[in-house]
Symmetry: C2
Subunit: 335 residues, 2 copies
């Protein structure tokens, strides 16, 4: 392993996993330490979900949201992916000296609005300030506690051959939005981040089918990275159809121009669900009735052990190709 931290160690891909394995998993090893979106903690007759996420997105304001909204959505969705109803959150701010107070107020207002929408309350916080040049404007870390729905058990290892692969909306909008907001490419397009709290979608899906096998939010590394993770954890393959994957026209256009694959662009309001075959149409219909679920689609199925660890894509020409392995987030500071 390298002697110093690289940007790729924060990209959510192989380098991040290497760092976690070499440093954090080794030192913090205990039966409750999770590699999932949130830890599950037994307490009396309930199971708590507990999760944390740091947000350093640049720029801190972008079409469709800001770092405050993102910081609520990220933690709400991590809890939701464990089948846990988000209940309480904390937030810790690190601010740069000179940061405009009215911008901070707008960020706080977004957090409050998003928390209300997600049905979660902010119960404690912390504020630290660094001198100019010691932190880039504003970082927020949120943590959350949720209460797991009874009878629900989701994990990447629970995928079964024949399960349907469902995605709750068009992919890659957050990544494309941040890319354009950086103004390094001189491209303008009417794209907004998909950033949204999604417990209501999870709750709807689990009410229709309590036995959903896997729920993941496709953040750093995007939809493709999540599929490779599930393929790895389950020891199965994933087969998807390119033409079924919902992608906004503007996002496709930008990807073509820049040579990017939308399946690897970050989302902040999209879930991947691995659903038992017999429940797939009912779950899809239920999700489509909900806000931020209107464009949900079934995009493929879980293949058997003979495809273990592989993600195959049927192209619109009818050929099948191996999706290139994910390399971690393309852009630093996407979230």
């Amino acid at each position: 392993m390298e002697q110093t931290i690289l940007l790729a160690h924060g990209g959510g891909g192989d380098k991040t996993n290497e760092l976690i394995g070499r440093i954090f998993s080794r030192h913090f090893s205990n039966p409750l330490l999770t590699a999932d979106d949130a830890a599950l903690l037994p307490l009396g007759d309930k199971t708590l979900a507990f999760s944390t996420d740091g947000f350093i997105v640049s720029p801190y304001r972008f079409p469709g949201g800001n770092i405050g909204k993102l910081s609520i959505c990220g933690t709400v969705n991590d809890l939701a992916c464990m089948g846990a109803e988000p209940r309480w959150m904390t937030c810790a701010f690190v601010l740069e000296e000179g940061f405009p107070v009215d911008e901070l107020e707008q960020i706080a207002a977004s957090m409050a609005e998003t928390a209300k929408k997600a049905g979660v309350v902010l119960v404690a916080g912390d504020t630290k300030v660094c001198a100019r040049g010691q932190v880039d404007k504003i970082f927020i870390t949120t943590s959350g506690i949720g209460i797991k729905k009874e009878g629900v058990a989701t994990s990447g290892s629970f995928a079964k051959p024949g399960d349907a692969i469902l995605v709750t909306g068009d992919i890659g909008r957050h990544g494309a939005t941040i890319l354009l907001a950086r103004e390094e490419f001189g491209i303008e397009a009417a794209i907004t981040s998909d950033c949204a709290p999604l417990w209501h979608l999870v709750n709807k899906a689990l009410t229709i089918c309590p036995d959903i096998h896997v729920i993941r939010d496709a953040t750093r590394g995007g939809f493709g990275t999540v599929l490779y993770e599930i393929a790895g954890q389950s020891g199965l393959g994933m087969q998807i159809q390119e033409e079924r994957i919902p992608v906004d026209g503007a996002v496709s256009g930008i990807c073509s121009m820049l040579g990017l694959d939308p399946v690897y662009l970050a989302c902040e309001g999209r879930l991947v669900m691995i659903v038992p075959k017999e429940a797939r149409e009912a779950v899809l219909a239920g999700i489509r009735e909900e806000e931020d679920g209107e464009k949900a689609a079934i995009v493929g199925y879980v293949a058997g052990k003979e495809q273990a660890g592989r993600v195959l894509m049927e192209t619109s020409l009818g050929t099948v190709r191996l999706l290139p392995k994910p390399t971690g987030e393309l852009l630093p500071r996407i979230c």
Copy 2:
């Protein structure tokens, strides 16, 4: 209020309170939102304590600890101050590109060691990386869940006239250590930070006297700031005797040289307890038997409403003076 964030907004004093009041309390207002060290959350027949703290200390290594040890102690002690046994923690790292991996490993090892000592487990984490110059080396945010001891209720507003003011050890060591570690003053002295996890002291004290009225950790702003906070919350006065306050000789010496008052230097392993008069000697004796409690002392008493909001100090000459009002942490990035 100012239009931009000042260093003082992170100092833990009046400016921090102004920012919290103007922005966070206003937008995040809800019945569970706490101004105490941790929020208390009813769940079935239990009460959870939930708290978060960001750590940006500079330098990140100092005599007696590092940012990792500090990040565990800070959150453990916030939970302990609510009478809650710390159980589970999360940690979120923001690292600067180029940060040495072996330093990160030492920090993680300190975190694991301190967590073990405190009886808490790290259950989830997050890692983000910024490009050089966008974050100063390493920031860590920890969050924790504790379970409140039954029958215990502590709050700054619960102080009663005649209660004893107890401090669990000599004050100001963390602040003095960081001051010297900055190497701006060219002073050398054998001082180490008091940084320590303190649930064992709280548990011991509450076992001896479940009716302890207030427990606070004297961090940003030090012992004096905590006394002013309790005086404000209870609408009573605080009367302390200068010669009873434990201060290390080297800390006094540095304070004399630099014109500082040790009562306003930060601690990271010292509690202030407001104890019913009849239990004070038993609680003191119990705490003195414990590690990090050997130098505990009773340093004064809670005065009546006629002294409301005032902290009076009897000097070694027998005169009584009003302790100057705290102005928030003297140094930025103390924790």
